[in-house]
Symmetry: C2
Amino acid sequence: MELSKHNLYRAQWSILYYLANYGSATLVEISNYLGVEKPTVTRTVTRLEELGYVEHVPGKDRREKRMQLTEPGSKIYQDVRVTIDQFEQDILKGISEEEQLQAIRIMKEIRNNILQKGDNKND
Amino acid sequence: MELSKHNLYRAQWSILYYLANYGSATLVEISNYLGVEKPTVTRTVTRLEELGYVEHVPGKDRREKRMQLTEPGSKIYQDVRVTIDQFEQDILKGISEEEQLQAIRIMKEIRNNILQKGDNKND
DNA sequence: TAGTAATAGTTACCTACGCTAACTATTTCT
DNA sequence: AGAAATAGTTAGCGTAGGTAACTATTACTA
Protein backbone atom coordinates (compact mmCIF):
# COMPACT_ATOMS: atom_id res chain seq x y z
CA MET A 1 0.00 0.00 0.00
CA GLU A 2 1.18 3.53 0.67
CA LEU A 3 3.87 2.40 3.07
CA SER A 4 5.64 0.25 0.51
CA LYS A 5 6.57 3.43 -1.38
CA HIS A 6 8.85 4.14 1.55
CA ASN A 7 10.02 0.55 2.09
CA LEU A 8 8.22 0.53 5.41
CA TYR A 9 6.01 -2.21 6.84
CA ARG A 10 2.82 -1.83 8.81
CA ALA A 11 4.19 -2.81 12.21
CA GLN A 12 7.26 -0.64 11.67
CA TRP A 13 5.13 2.34 10.78
CA SER A 14 2.87 1.90 13.80
CA ILE A 15 5.90 2.18 16.07
CA LEU A 16 7.28 5.24 14.27
CA TYR A 17 3.82 6.73 14.57
CA TYR A 18 3.65 6.09 18.30
CA LEU A 19 7.10 7.54 18.95
CA ALA A 20 6.37 10.59 16.80
CA ASN A 21 3.24 11.29 18.81
CA TYR A 22 4.48 10.40 22.29
CA GLY A 23 8.12 11.45 22.08
CA SER A 24 9.54 8.31 23.59
CA ALA A 25 8.35 4.95 24.85
CA THR A 26 9.53 1.71 26.39
CA LEU A 27 9.00 -1.59 24.61
CA VAL A 28 6.26 -2.50 27.09
CA GLU A 29 4.43 0.75 26.38
CA ILE A 30 4.60 0.03 22.68
CA SER A 31 3.51 -3.54 23.32
CA ASN A 32 0.41 -2.36 25.19
CA TYR A 33 -0.40 0.27 22.62
CA LEU A 34 -0.21 -2.16 19.72
CA GLY A 35 -1.81 -5.03 21.59
CA VAL A 36 1.06 -7.31 20.70
CA GLU A 37 3.46 -9.47 22.73
CA LYS A 38 6.86 -8.20 23.84
CA PRO A 39 9.01 -10.42 21.61
CA THR A 40 7.18 -9.07 18.59
CA VAL A 41 8.04 -5.53 19.65
CA THR A 42 11.66 -6.45 20.38
CA ARG A 43 12.10 -7.76 16.86
CA THR A 44 10.52 -4.82 15.07
CA VAL A 45 12.29 -2.25 17.22
CA THR A 46 15.59 -4.00 16.51
CA ARG A 47 14.84 -3.75 12.80
CA LEU A 48 14.08 -0.04 13.16
CA GLU A 49 17.38 0.42 15.00
CA GLU A 50 19.20 -1.33 12.14
CA LEU A 51 17.49 1.03 9.73
CA GLY A 52 18.65 3.91 11.88
CA TYR A 53 15.16 5.23 12.51
CA VAL A 54 15.05 4.84 16.30
CA GLU A 55 17.58 4.93 19.11
CA HIS A 56 17.87 3.95 22.75
CA VAL A 57 17.82 6.68 25.40
CA PRO A 58 19.06 5.46 28.79
CA GLY A 59 16.97 6.17 31.86
CA LYS A 60 16.97 5.45 35.58
CA ASP A 61 15.30 2.05 35.44
CA ARG A 62 17.96 -0.03 33.77
CA ARG A 63 15.55 -2.83 32.95
CA GLU A 64 13.62 -0.85 30.43
CA LYS A 65 14.68 0.28 27.00
CA ARG A 66 13.25 3.68 26.22
CA MET A 67 13.22 4.48 22.51
CA GLN A 68 12.88 7.67 20.47
CA LEU A 69 13.05 8.67 16.83
CA THR A 70 16.42 9.61 15.34
CA GLU A 71 16.82 12.52 12.96
CA PRO A 72 16.44 10.25 9.90
CA GLY A 73 13.55 8.53 11.64
CA SER A 74 11.73 11.84 12.05
CA LYS A 75 12.46 12.66 8.43
CA ILE A 76 10.97 9.38 7.23
CA TYR A 77 7.97 9.85 9.49
CA GLN A 78 7.29 13.27 7.97
CA ASP A 79 7.63 11.89 4.44
CA VAL A 80 5.22 9.05 5.06
CA ARG A 81 2.90 11.40 6.91
CA VAL A 82 2.58 13.47 3.74
CA THR A 83 1.90 10.40 1.60
CA ILE A 84 -0.75 9.14 3.99
CA ASP A 85 -2.42 12.54 4.36
CA GLN A 86 -2.67 12.73 0.59
CA PHE A 87 -4.08 9.21 0.46
CA GLU A 88 -6.68 10.06 3.09
CA GLN A 89 -7.73 13.16 1.20
CA ASP A 90 -8.16 11.09 -1.95
CA ILE A 91 -10.30 8.39 -0.39
CA LEU A 92 -12.47 10.90 1.47
CA LYS A 93 -13.34 12.73 -1.74
CA GLY A 94 -17.08 13.46 -1.88
CA ILE A 95 -17.63 12.90 1.82
CA SER A 96 -18.67 15.98 3.76
CA GLU A 97 -16.94 17.15 6.91
CA GLU A 98 -20.12 16.41 8.82
CA GLU A 99 -20.24 12.84 7.58
CA GLN A 100 -16.59 12.34 8.44
CA LEU A 101 -17.14 13.55 12.00
CA GLN A 102 -20.20 11.31 12.31
CA ALA A 103 -18.26 8.29 11.13
CA ILE A 104 -15.33 9.05 13.42
CA ARG A 105 -17.62 9.41 16.41
CA ILE A 106 -19.29 6.09 15.72
CA MET A 107 -15.96 4.34 15.15
CA LYS A 108 -14.73 5.65 18.48
CA GLU A 109 -17.77 4.22 20.20
CA ILE A 110 -17.15 0.84 18.61
CA ARG A 111 -13.51 1.08 19.62
CA ASN A 112 -14.50 1.68 23.22
CA ASN A 113 -16.79 -1.34 23.14
CA ILE A 114 -13.94 -3.48 21.84
CA LEU A 115 -11.51 -2.19 24.45
CA GLN A 116 -13.95 -2.96 27.24
CA LYS A 117 -14.42 -6.50 25.96
CA GLY A 118 -10.68 -7.10 26.02
CA ASP A 119 -10.06 -5.53 29.42
CA ASN A 120 -9.03 -8.79 31.10
CA LYS A 121 -5.35 -8.40 31.97
CA ASN A 122 -4.78 -12.02 31.02
CA ASP A 123 -6.19 -13.99 28.07
CA MET B 1 -9.26 -12.63 17.86
CA GLU B 2 -12.57 -14.35 17.33
CA LEU B 3 -11.17 -16.60 14.62
CA SER B 4 -8.57 -18.14 16.90
CA LYS B 5 -11.36 -19.79 18.86
CA HIS B 6 -11.89 -21.93 15.79
CA ASN B 7 -8.20 -22.36 14.93
CA LEU B 8 -8.76 -20.35 11.80
CA TYR B 9 -6.56 -17.57 10.44
CA ARG B 10 -7.65 -14.36 8.79
CA ALA B 11 -6.68 -15.25 5.24
CA GLN B 12 -8.24 -18.70 5.60
CA TRP B 13 -11.48 -17.22 6.85
CA SER B 14 -11.64 -14.69 4.03
CA ILE B 15 -11.55 -17.53 1.51
CA LEU B 16 -14.18 -19.58 3.33
CA TYR B 17 -16.29 -16.43 3.44
CA TYR B 18 -15.95 -15.85 -0.27
CA LEU B 19 -16.79 -19.43 -1.16
CA ALA B 20 -19.77 -19.46 1.21
CA ASN B 21 -21.16 -16.36 -0.47
CA TYR B 22 -20.30 -17.13 -4.09
CA GLY B 23 -20.67 -20.89 -4.18
CA SER B 24 -17.44 -21.59 -5.99
CA ALA B 25 -14.43 -19.73 -7.32
CA THR B 26 -11.15 -20.17 -9.14
CA LEU B 27 -7.89 -19.19 -7.50
CA VAL B 28 -7.64 -16.15 -9.74
CA GLU B 29 -11.11 -14.99 -8.70
CA ILE B 30 -10.11 -15.33 -5.07
CA SER B 31 -6.85 -13.58 -5.80
CA ASN B 32 -8.71 -10.62 -7.31
CA TYR B 33 -11.25 -10.51 -4.53
CA LEU B 34 -8.62 -10.48 -1.80
CA GLY B 35 -6.18 -8.28 -3.68
CA VAL B 36 -3.26 -10.68 -3.16
CA GLU B 37 -0.96 -12.52 -5.54
CA LYS B 38 -1.70 -15.98 -6.87
CA PRO B 39 1.00 -17.85 -4.97
CA THR B 40 -0.44 -16.54 -1.73
CA VAL B 41 -3.84 -17.94 -2.68
CA THR B 42 -2.35 -21.24 -3.77
CA ARG B 43 -0.75 -21.73 -0.39
CA THR B 44 -3.79 -20.85 1.69
CA VAL B 45 -6.16 -22.89 -0.48
CA THR B 46 -3.80 -25.86 -0.17
CA ARG B 47 -3.92 -25.46 3.61
CA LEU B 48 -7.72 -25.36 3.53
CA GLU B 49 -7.72 -28.53 1.43
CA GLU B 50 -5.50 -30.23 4.00
CA LEU B 51 -7.93 -29.16 6.68
CA GLY B 52 -10.72 -30.67 4.58
CA TYR B 53 -12.65 -27.42 4.35
CA VAL B 54 -12.55 -26.93 0.58
CA GLU B 55 -12.41 -29.20 -2.45
CA HIS B 56 -11.63 -29.00 -6.15
CA VAL B 57 -14.50 -29.24 -8.64
CA PRO B 58 -13.32 -29.96 -12.20
CA GLY B 59 -14.61 -27.78 -15.03
CA LYS B 60 -14.16 -27.37 -18.76
CA ASP B 61 -11.09 -25.14 -18.64
CA ARG B 62 -8.47 -27.52 -17.34
CA ARG B 63 -6.08 -24.72 -16.46
CA GLU B 64 -8.21 -23.38 -13.68
CA LYS B 65 -8.87 -24.90 -10.29
CA ARG B 66 -12.42 -24.19 -9.20
CA MET B 67 -12.97 -24.60 -5.46
CA GLN B 68 -16.00 -25.00 -3.22
CA LEU B 69 -16.70 -25.64 0.45
CA THR B 70 -16.94 -29.23 1.66
CA GLU B 71 -19.56 -30.33 4.16
CA PRO B 72 -17.19 -29.81 7.11
CA GLY B 73 -16.13 -26.52 5.54
CA SER B 74 -19.72 -25.31 5.51
CA LYS B 75 -20.16 -26.45 9.08
CA ILE B 76 -17.11 -24.50 10.23
CA TYR B 77 -18.25 -21.46 8.29
CA GLN B 78 -21.61 -21.53 10.06
CA ASP B 79 -19.96 -21.92 13.46
CA VAL B 80 -17.61 -18.99 12.91
CA ARG B 81 -20.47 -16.99 11.44
CA VAL B 82 -22.32 -17.31 14.75
CA THR B 83 -19.26 -16.27 16.76
CA ILE B 84 -18.69 -13.25 14.57
CA ASP B 85 -22.33 -12.19 14.56
CA GLN B 86 -22.26 -12.29 18.35
CA PHE B 87 -19.05 -10.28 18.39
CA GLU B 88 -20.55 -7.69 16.08
CA GLN B 89 -23.62 -7.36 18.26
CA ASP B 90 -21.41 -6.82 21.29
CA ILE B 91 -19.27 -4.11 19.77
CA LEU B 92 -22.27 -2.30 18.29
CA LYS B 93 -23.94 -2.03 21.68
CA GLY B 94 -25.29 1.48 22.22
CA ILE B 95 -25.13 2.43 18.55
CA SER B 96 -28.49 3.04 16.92
CA GLU B 97 -29.61 1.34 13.73
CA GLU B 98 -29.60 4.73 12.05
CA GLU B 99 -26.03 5.43 13.04
CA GLN B 100 -24.96 2.00 11.85
CA LEU B 101 -26.54 2.57 8.45
CA GLN B 102 -24.92 5.99 8.23
CA ALA B 103 -21.50 4.56 9.02
CA ILE B 104 -21.95 1.71 6.56
CA ARG B 105 -22.96 4.09 3.80
CA ILE B 106 -19.93 6.30 4.40
CA MET B 107 -17.58 3.30 4.56
CA LYS B 108 -18.93 2.09 1.24
CA GLU B 109 -18.22 5.46 -0.33
CA ILE B 110 -14.66 5.35 0.96
CA ARG B 111 -14.33 1.81 -0.32
CA ASN B 112 -15.41 2.92 -3.78
CA ASN B 113 -12.85 5.71 -3.74
CA ILE B 114 -10.14 3.22 -2.83
CA LEU B 115 -11.19 0.77 -5.53
CA GLN B 116 -11.11 3.51 -8.17
CA LYS B 117 -7.61 4.54 -7.12
CA GLY B 118 -6.37 0.98 -7.57
CA ASP B 119 -8.07 0.35 -10.89
CA ASN B 120 -4.83 0.12 -12.88
CA LYS B 121 -4.57 -3.47 -14.11
CA ASN B 122 -0.86 -3.40 -13.35
CA ASP B 123 0.94 -1.88 -10.37
C1' DT C 1 -3.77 -24.92 -38.89
C1' DA C 2 0.77 -24.22 -36.92
C1' DG C 3 2.82 -21.20 -33.93
C1' DT C 4 2.56 -17.60 -30.64
C1' DA C 5 -0.04 -15.02 -26.74
C1' DA C 6 -2.20 -15.10 -22.86
C1' DT C 7 -4.00 -17.22 -18.80
C1' DA C 8 -4.14 -20.36 -14.50
C1' DG C 9 -1.51 -22.37 -11.19
C1' DT C 10 2.66 -24.02 -8.93
C1' DT C 11 7.34 -24.07 -6.84
C1' DA C 12 11.08 -22.01 -4.52
C1' DC C 13 12.59 -18.52 -1.77
C1' DC C 14 12.64 -14.12 0.97
C1' DT C 15 10.74 -11.11 4.61
C1' DA C 16 7.50 -9.53 8.12
C1' DC C 17 5.04 -10.38 12.05
C1' DG C 18 2.01 -12.78 15.19
C1' DC C 19 2.58 -16.38 19.10
C1' DT C 20 4.57 -19.32 23.27
C1' DA C 21 8.22 -21.01 26.33
C1' DA C 22 12.16 -20.30 28.70
C1' DC C 23 15.54 -17.38 29.99
C1' DT C 24 18.53 -13.04 32.19
C1' DA C 25 18.80 -8.68 34.49
C1' DT C 26 16.99 -5.32 37.27
C1' DT C 27 13.81 -3.36 40.53
C1' DT C 28 10.32 -3.65 44.10
C1' DC C 29 8.13 -5.56 47.89
C1' DT C 30 7.96 -8.10 52.36
C1' DA D 1 18.16 -10.36 52.57
C1' DG D 2 15.31 -12.97 49.82
C1' DA D 3 11.20 -13.51 47.03
C1' DA D 4 8.26 -11.63 43.59
C1' DA D 5 7.38 -8.71 39.94
C1' DT D 6 8.80 -6.32 35.77
C1' DA D 7 11.46 -5.40 31.28
C1' DG D 8 13.53 -7.33 27.76
C1' DT D 9 15.73 -11.12 24.92
C1' DT D 10 16.38 -15.57 22.46
C1' DA D 11 14.82 -19.51 20.04
C1' DG D 12 11.51 -21.55 17.41
C1' DC D 13 6.84 -22.24 15.45
C1' DG D 14 3.22 -20.93 11.85
C1' DT D 15 0.67 -17.74 8.74
C1' DA D 16 0.85 -14.70 5.21
C1' DG D 17 2.49 -11.25 2.04
C1' DG D 18 5.79 -10.61 -2.05
C1' DT D 19 8.79 -11.75 -6.63
C1' DA D 20 10.93 -14.74 -10.15
C1' DA D 21 10.77 -18.49 -12.87
C1' DC D 22 8.45 -22.29 -14.33
C1' DT D 23 4.55 -25.83 -16.52
C1' DA D 24 0.16 -26.71 -18.58
C1' DT D 25 -3.69 -25.37 -20.99
C1' DT D 26 -6.45 -22.31 -23.82
C1' DA D 27 -7.09 -18.49 -27.06
C1' DC D 28 -5.53 -15.76 -30.73
C1' DT D 29 -3.52 -14.84 -35.36
C1' DA D 30 -0.77 -14.83 -39.46
